[in-house]
Symmetry: C2
Subunit: 212 residues, 2 copies
């Protein structure tokens, strides 16, 4: 594959650095050994061109020839369909990778990201809604803990499902939310020790630091 362009913000505040979702795409591209270039769009002034690629004004998006794709999940699926390193070719494993890819985003991150929003806000009030939200995340992590206690990666070998799940979990870990879940914590440590993650993370940090 040639002509892969990843677009991210030109700059973001300190807080989200290392966690901006372009890291998922960088990580996948590094794992697959695909060459790519990184473009920037203004963080502060998001124009019509930006919204034409990403209708919510977020990042990242990937362009490949005249195809432009937004949503980290859709991008990783697209890359997975083009690289056996990212997604196994046999139909059964492929189907399992796809369900876990959705599980990372729609079963785990749907609980963990809102929880992180409360943590970011420094909100410690124990209201009924907050209790329900905490319980929602707890339930997801408990079940995931059972799964990860018996597996190195979600489906046989490392895949795009692991990139998404590990990236989702490391934001929980940032706020010490994995304390009671040793298998989840070990899984995050295992995933983020991979050279492709280390490079992706360093590249994102350098990208935003260059704009300061």
């Amino acid at each position: 594959m040639t002509d892969l362009f990843l677009t991210t913000f030109d700059w973001v505040p300190e807080m989200p650095r290392g966690y901006v979702r372009d890291i998922r795409v960088r990580w996948a591209l590094e794992e697959a050994g695909l060459s790519y270039r990184v473009n920037s769009v203004p963080f502060r002034a998001r124009g019509p061109e930006h919204f034409s690629h990403q209708p919510f004004g977020q990042v990242p998006w990937l362009t490949h020839g005249d195809t432009s794709i937004f949503e980290s999940g859709a991008i990783l699926l697209y890359l997975g369909e083009r690289s056996d390193t990212l997604m196994p070719a046999d139909p059964r494993s492929r189907s399992e990778v796809i369900e876990w890819l959705f599980a990372a985003l729609n079963s785990v991150e749907m609980a963990s990201l809102p929880w992180s929003i409360f943590m970011f806000s420094g909100d410690t009030e124990d209201t009924p809604g907050r209790k329900s939200l905490d319980k929602f995340l707890e339930s997801r992590l408990q079940h995931l803990e059972s799964v990860l206690a018996g597996r190195k990666w979600l489906v046989g070998t490392f895949s795009v499902a692991d990139i998404l799940m590990a990236d989702v979990l490391r934001l929980v870990d940032r706020f010490d939310g994995l304390t009671g879940y040793p298998a989840c914590r070990d899984y995050v440590a295992r995933a983020t020790a991979r050279p492709a993650f280390v490079k992706a993370h360093a590249d994102q940090m350098a990208h935003f630091a260059a704009a300061d």
Copy 2:
């Protein structure tokens, strides 16, 4: 396709009826005119067999021959790949349907479902976290409103992306969260007027009512 089995709970409380996620799969199967049967698992006593199909103890899952798939997004993608009614075959439209399918789950539902959890809890406390969560949903709906103001469906003709987006939005609508978003509200009305949704909804209601 033969031998499609959709599994859902045998019973759920009043509150979630009509909104249990098996409706997404029923709706897709009805749109595609595929025949299927519905199996039940206990809502109260979730056993190892249940967790072997759905590791978070949720529903639905779909079995097709010896393939078993969980996550409504993964199931709809699987069905979409097998039905031109659910997902257009040409690569560009297919790619757009897939990005919108992820957007429904990971950009919109990730904001709307936690918000609904607070609404379900009757939680009205205006804490900093709650304000951030409200703002998160508001931002997503504002951008989606611009998109839907100019389109009947997300990508040309009706697709699995619309099933997911409309189902996500109708839970927001249930709590009057679409009041300021007329294009979103019209879109939900348009989608849920489709005979396939009407049948799927009636079937889910009848399924749970039969267990009372």
